[in-house]
Structures are given as C-alpha cells and as structure tokens.
Amino acid sequence: MSTLETFRLETRAWLEENCPQSMRTPMPEDERVWGGRNATFKNPDSQVWLERMVDRGWTVPTWPTEYGGGGLSKDQATILGEEMSRLGCRTPLFSFGISMLGPVMLKYGNPTQQAEHLPKIARGEIRWCQGYSEPGAGSDLASLQTRAEDRGDHYLINGQKVWTSYANHADWIFCLVRTDTSVKHDGISFVLFDMTSPGVETRPITLISGASVFCETFFTDVEVPKGNLVGELNSGWTIAKELLQHERGMIAQIGRAIGGNVPGVEAIAKKYLGTADGRIGDAGLRDDIARHVMNDRAFALTIRRAGQESESGTANGGASSMFKYFGTEQNKAKFELILKAAGAAALAWEGDDYEPEEITLCRTWLRSKGNSIEGGTSEVQLNVIAKRVLGLPD
C-alpha cells in the first residue's frame, strides 16, 4: 500500500474517532468558530473539535509543525480535505489569519514575527481583521491615506479604514498604511497591531441584509512598535497584492459556503413550483436553472483543473481573478434564481408566517450582493484578467 493510502486510512480512522457527531452536521452560521481572545462556542462540541484539530496541527495542515501546522504535503492535505468532506466534518476554525495573513507571513514575516504570530493563528488564539479599504480608497486601493509617521522607536498612525470585517471582534489587525506621501504604490507599508491599542475605535455598519459584519475603524495617534512592520518599509503593496489573491480565493469559496447553508436551487424550485414527470414545473425557469448548475459544475471542474496544473507546474496564472469573478457572480445568480422560484416566500423579512429558512433566503440573497464588491469588484477582476492574462494595453 502506498504511503498516501496508509495516510488516508489513518486519517479516516482518526476523524471517525475524534470528530464529535454534532460536528458532522451542516453548520448554522451562528455556530461558526472564529477563535480569538473572546472566542465563543455556541455548541460545546465545537470547542472539543477545535482543540483536537489544533493538537494535530490540522487547522493549518500544510504549515510547518514549528508554527503549529500539520507539516502535511499538498497531497496529504488534499486527502485530509477529502476525508473531512466524506464524513461531513465542519471546518473547525474560520480565520482571516489562516486564509489571508498566514500565507504572506510565511513568506514575508521575519523569524521573530513568525514565531510570535503564526502559532497563535494556528491555535485560534488571536482573531485578525484586515485594514485595507478606506472611504476614499475602494477599487483604487493604492490611493489609501492612513498615515504612519516615523517617531523614532515607533510609528504613529492616524486615519480611517472601512469595510473592516469583524473589526469589533478582532484582537489584531493587519493594516496598509502610507509611509511615503510623494509616491503612490511605493509609499505603502504593511503593519500589524493590537486592536486594544489606545486610539483604536470601531463602529459596526448595518448592511442591507440587516447584518453588521463590517465596521468603520478609526485610528487616532495609535502607537505601533517598529518591529511590527512586515517586509521592507514602503514595500507593502507587493504583500498587499499577494494577500488579495488569497482573499479572492477565499471569497469565491465563501460564496459557495454561504450557498452551502441553503438547499440547492433545483430543490427549492421543485418545492415551490412543483414537478411534472419529475421536471420543475416552469419550463423557462428549469432551463435557466440547468444553465446555472451546469456553470457551477464547469466552474468546479476548472478549479480542479487549476489544482492539477499547479501541481504539475503547468499553471498559467491569472486564475485567482477568474475564480473571484466567476464564483461570486454565480453565487449572486443563484440567489436571483431562488427568489424567482420561491416567490413571496423568499421576500419575508421577519414574522411567524414564514419558516426561518425562508427568511434566511431573503437575508442571504441580500448578503450575496457584496460578494462581487468585497475583495476587489467584479469590474476590477475583469480589468486584471484583461491586463495580466490577455495583455490588453492600458
């Protein structure tokens, strides 16, 4: 038996023994575990599951063991993922530290920073947020104005960030700041600091979906030690762009994960429109739904192909913008189809005459609108494809 097959059998056995039964069921959004100093576990099994996975280093399976990772090869990590889906295991920890900061820290962080931050990310002890967008710097992110002034042993930070996801729950922030005002991209630095530092204030923003996951974040004379600068001074844009690629990959997946709490659009259409000979009752909508789920299938195959190309060294790059664009547009389209299929049942905001699942449909539809805005709008993704992949001129 190959070593990989042995690994698969051992992994399967371990998961079957260690994944609590309730962690093998679909996860309601309010049972997601985000970790941090004030971590909450609505379902106590979540904590047990997280601790067991942390002990194996499997919250970050491919990270080195010295930073709390599992030290797995890509193939082993794929097997772990497959075995977790086979059992229906929940993701033990949701974390911007894992999905966004970690990969760039492994590459650009100095040994002190890596030793300080990576293990805490792996164990879910510190919850991170991302300080990128500003009121005047959205799609044109590099025009950001939040200043970091050199004050000898520290930087003094003043300015405002916006769309800071979960800033009000985060322990630390990775933040883009301007350290040179005479140039644009080459005057940006990447710094880390504690959100409990004096001068940090967060205000949640209520969204069209009624939720408040984003914040406005204000910095007034915040002192940040110089050792918290990641990479070289004024070279933050390189790190920022690389991190965005990880973010885009994550949003494309989250789009799908959001959809994961909602039944398939085919099932919803069957429920509300009825069937004739097993076919969705409305022929026009059935055709639209078929087109949609076929695009989903072709998209999933494309992600798989990109994985195989990347392993065999034949990848052509530019994939992350396509995935961000297509994954998020698909998710939005899915909810529009659900609204058409479910009719008034997907328009209820609150009240007892509709099922909670129906009210969730409405809220999730509204939330999906942000997918193609956050992490770089669809229009920006198309610009990136046109420029970097197709070589079209500016």
């Binding site: 085919e266 259409a269 069957k270 069937t275 097993g278 076919r279 969705i280 059935r286 055709d287 739904i289 078929a290 087109r291 789920v293 076929m294 695009n295 299938r297 072709a298 998209f299 195959l301 494309t302 798989r304 192909r305 195989q308 190309e309 065999s312 034949t314 396509m322 664009y325 297509f326 229009e379 993704q381 198309l382 610009n383 494809i385 046109a386 420029k387 992949v389 197709l390 070589g391 079209l392 001129p393 500016d394």
Partner: protein, 379 residues
Amino acid sequence: MSLILNEEQIMLKNSAHEFFGDQMPVSSLRELRDKGDKNGFDPAHWAAMAEMGWAGILVPEACGGSDFGYLGMGQVLEESGRTLAASPLFATALIGAPLMATAGNAEQQQKVLSAVASGDCLLALAIDESPRHEPLGSQLTAVKNGDGFELQGQKQFVLDGHVADYLIVLARTSGRTGDPAGLSMFLVDRNISGLAISPTLMVDSRYASKLTFDKVRVSGDALIGELDDAWPTLERVLDGARAGIAAEMLGAGQEAFERTLAYLKMRQQFGAPIGSFQALKHRAALMFCELELTRSAVLAALSALDKGAENVAELASLAKAKACDMLELVSNEAVQMHGGIGMTDAEEIGFFLKRARVQQQVFGDAGFHRDRYATLQGF
C-alpha cells in the same frame, strides 16, 4: 479524474497543431469553397491524416488502429477546429469507427474497420429526420422481410453522407416513436438500390445530405449489434461525438478569440489601440472565462469516455452545452469587434461564425443538452 494531458497526448496535440497550421489553414477551406469542390474536403489531406494514424485513433490496435482514446482524439479535433479543417475525421473516425468497433459483428468489422483506420473507407451516421436533433424521434422503419429487412423513410443533416462508402442508419424495428427500445442500426452500402442521396452545401462550406429510403432491401447481416437494442450503444457513441465536437468548438473558439485579441491590440481609433477601451476589455475577459470553463468541461467529458465512467452522459451534455454557449458568444463578439472588416468575405473571421452555428446544431444544441442534463440530475 485527470484534467491535464499526459506526454503522449501533448505530443499528439503539438503535431496536430503543426499539421493543420501548415497543411490545412483556413485558406484551404476557402479554396475548396471557391472552386466548388464536390467532396468538401481534399482526399490528399485525409490520406496524410490517416498516415499519421488519426483515422484510427478510436480503432483498436488489433484492427489496425492507433487506439489513442478520446482524450487523444479530442486534441486532434481541437487543433482541427482552430483552422476549421474539413475532413472525414468527425463522421468516420470519431463516430463511425467506435460504433463499428463496439457493436459491429466480426464480418462487419473485417469489412470496414481496418479500411477506416487506413483512410480507405468513409462512414456516415444517419439519425436525424427533422431540422432538430431528436434521436428517439426516429421514424424510418426497418421491417423484417425474409432473411433481411426493408427500410422505408428519410434522414436529414447526414454529415459526410455524400461521400460515405457505408451509411450507419438508425431505424425503428419495433415499439413506438420516442421509446428507447425498438431501435436498430444497419450498415448500408451507398450504392444499394432504392437509396437516394441528395447533398446540400451548408453555410460552413461543407456538405450534409438528405437520404431517402424507398423499399431498400438489406440482408440480415446488415444489422449492427442486437435487434431492437441499438440505443445504449448509440447513446454512448453519440456522447463521444458530442464531447468530440465540443473539443473542435473549443479550438475554433480559442482561435477566433486569439485573432480578435490580436485585432484589439493592433487596431487604432481615437489615437489608441481599441483594446485599451474598458468596454472591450471586459467583454474580452468574459470570453476568456467562458473558454476556460469550456476547456474544463471538454477535458472532463473526454476523460470520462476513456474511463468508461458512469457519468459520461452528464459530462458530454455539459461539454456540448458549454461549447455551444461559449462559441455563440465568441463568434458573435469576434465579428463585432473586427468591425466593418468582420463583415467582409475577405476576412477569415466570418468563416468561424458560419462554422459555429453548424457545430452548435450537430447532435443537440445547448437547449437540448440543458434539458438532458436536468433530466439526468432529476429535475
């Protein structure tokens, strides 16, 4: 499931790219059209392709084939799509060969298979009876008559019907229109008495034929496979044809897209290359996404065919539907973005548009395959 090519397949793709680019560029199709060639292809090209083993890619080695499988066939078809190369590759090598290799009896195989692989025998599959693809709607009848059968009815849109040495004809032998059971296939010599073959020059400068069967008597050994049980074999071969033409469409779409991109970079208006305008950039990026999705679907379908996977039908319908939607978009945008010269016969981009619509109709358009996919998925 492998969605990337192995070394052998990459070599095959590269040599096909070179051959079609050098020997059969789009200009060779124009030449055939302009001189009113009645074959619609150049037999010398087909002989060269057979020499390289491409006529027998889906013929077992034991019968003289090269047996490279559907993924290999897909690479040759994709490259042939780039130059719109007209040849019997589709009707004979992609459809006729595997059908005879799967369902033909020993005598039939001996008669046609090695001749197909050597390029000396052409086949054509006759299924459709109306302008829309609806294989279960087949109404041509074959009635038992002594030791043989008598065929009565008509077939349309038979690709290569005008040049095929043998026609593979789908007929109803029992049951009712629409039933999968009760269909049979027959191998019919083109010169048989009572068969009229009438070719039409289609918009893509290729021929499709109408076949009229008036009391055509065939012997009992003309039956391919089991009586009344043609459907399972035929459906599998049709799925191979759908995945194969999707590969050809991918090549055509990729080429039309690359030509359009080059034009966007070259054409100057308002003092700038028109490819610098965001309205065109975004549309180009959208086409890129559609091409990438189509490529994945095509590779998955070809790969599943080689594996004999259970989900071949779903994946073949996925590949054909994606290829249709992609190519409709790309062929329309290609003409639009070329502007006025895109409307001229002198510019080659129009050939891609004309070929695209024929490819879209062959063995089911996007709507046909969405319906089939949804049914297979239970909605």
